[in-house]
């Protein structure tokens, strides 16, 4: 259960938002909306503990996330604007490296299943620098296929994806919510997530 109270963020001497609070239970998704530059990405980074809020607190299962430290990070999966993949490594190596980093080990077949799910089978041994922007994005998203961690924080996951991929990803998130997981995400396209209750938070 994720909870935040009167979060405040200041960039330069402009206050982006203040008094922001929300609550996400198991199986629920928080849909973050706001114009460009309203601090959506900053709020997501605050939830992950990358950025410290000027005021306010974020609690995971009742405990402040910075005090939890690794315990919280074991439950957290963050996907930002950047793909977080190494250009020199192949999709196969990228996926197994990111899994091992999260503390799990993926077998060869599981990795290949994930790549097949994003339609990259046949390119698993090609260094990522030869892939297109959309394909690199799908390598980054392939990480979510076997993702067991409870809290997904996704920053505009649907960008640069074709219609089929958007549908696939929406289904994946829906399945995650059904398993009792939680998700916080931002997006500009209108996407309906098949399962779980959707809460909305508008950053003015």
């Amino acid at each position: 259960m994720l909870e935040a109270s009167n979060l405040e963020c200041v960039r330069g001497d402009r206050r982006l938002f203040a008094g922001v609070g929300f609550r996400v239970e198991g199986g629920e998704m928080l849909f973050l909306q706001g114009r460009n530059g309203s601090g959506k990405t900053t709020l997501l980074r605050m939830i992950c503990g990358l950025t410290h809020p000027v005021a306010g607190e974020i609690r995971w299962k009742g405990e402040e996330i910075h005090r939890l430290g690794e315990e919280f990070r074991e439950e957290l999966c963050y996907l930002g604007h950047l793909n977080a993949i190494k250009e020199e490594l192949t999709p196969l190596e990228n996926l197994s490296a990111s899994a091992r980093l999260a503390g799990e080990t993926l077998s060869e077949d599981e990795t290949l299943d994930a790549l097949e799910a994003v339609g990259l089978l046949g390119r698993e041994d090609l260094a990522c620098k030869y892939l297109s922007q959309g394909q690199k994005r799908r390598v980054a998203l392939a990480r979510l296929v076997h993702e067991k961690r409870a809290l997904w924080v996704l920053d505009e996951p649907f960008v640069a994806l074709d219609v089929a991929a958007v549908g696939w990803l929406a289904g994946l998130i829906g399945a995650h919510l059904q398993r009792g997981g939680m998700a916080v995400l931002t997006t500009h396209q209108a996407v309906d997530i098949p399962a779980g209750t959707v809460r909305e938070l508008k950053l003015s």
Partner: protein, 251 residues
């Protein structure tokens, strides 16, 4: 204990510190002047000639205080750095940033006066003495700190990055000093070194102490003044700064 400490820091917020510092600066300037004049009078006018080094030894009355201050200011910066990292107070970053230039100038003064003192005594402008070499490295640490803070735009990141560097620096200072001392005695023996300062008559000790106090008051005054300017700049969006600006306008 923790919450009592926290609200103590509430008073150390820039808004309440700004007027406080404003009142204190004139006092520190006055003290610096009084101690300075007394020290100069004792050291330069009344103190006798040193039988070994003649009149040249009088440079010690600013060389040693400058060296002490350059070291002391770095320690104070590290103190503010630790405070800032532990309690996330905005004021500590500002104080560290305000102190750095004065510390760097003190280190430069120590080197300059050390060289001018070394020339008549040992015939060379620069002596690879353990203390002078460590002072040179300390100047590099200061320049590194100032350069790092100057190259980071976001003030909060600049404070924290500077704090980490100051703490890493303060841990390394003793290591650097002893390795330079080892290196100095290893290669040259201690024949050429400033450690053999002239025998200090009581009068000279008093002069040195007064000059050190004067340098200390001076450093506090300049640092507080610069800290106030930094506070105005960093909190320019706040209400209390607008009021201060109105009063400034009236004055």
């Amino acid at each position: 204990m923790n919450n009592r400490l926290i609200n103590w820091f509430k008073y150390a917020s820039p808004q309440s510190f700004y007027p406080l510092a404003g009142k204190m600066i004139p006092w520190f300037v006055a003290l610096a002047t009084v101690f300075g004049l007394a020290g100069l009078w004792l050291g330069m006018v009344v103190a006798p000639t040193d039988f070994q080094q003649g009149e040249g030894y009088r440079i010690i009355f600013i060389h040693v205080p400058a060296s002490w201050m350059s070291m002391f200011i770095y320690l104070v910066m590290a103190f503010w750095a630790a405070l800032g990292l532990a309690y996330n107070t905005r004021l500590s970053g500002m104080m560290a940033q305000a102190l750095a230039p004065t510390g760097a100038l003190m280190a430069f003064l120590s080197l300059w006066t050390g060289a001018l003192w070394g020339k008549p005594m040992w015939g060379t402008w620069w002596v690879w003495d353990a203390r002078l070499t460590s002072e040179l490295i300390l100047l590099f640490l200061y320049i590194g700190f100032i350069a790092l803070q100057a190259s980071i735009d976001d003030p909060r990141r600049a404070d924290k990055a500077g704090a980490v560097l100051a703490l890493v620096g303060v841990v390394n200072i003793p290591i650097i000093y002893f390795s330079v001392k080892w290196w100095n005695t290893l290669h040259q023996g201690s024949s050429v070194s400033l450690t053999k300062s002239p025998s200090m008559a009581i009068l000279m000790l008093w002069a040195m102490l007064l000059m050190a106090l004067s340098f200390w008051m001076y450093s506090i005054a300049v640092a507080l003044y610069r800290a106030r300017t930094i506070m105005l700049e960093r909190e320019r969006g706040t209400e209390w700064v607008r009021e201060v600006l109105q009063q400034e306008g009236a004055k």
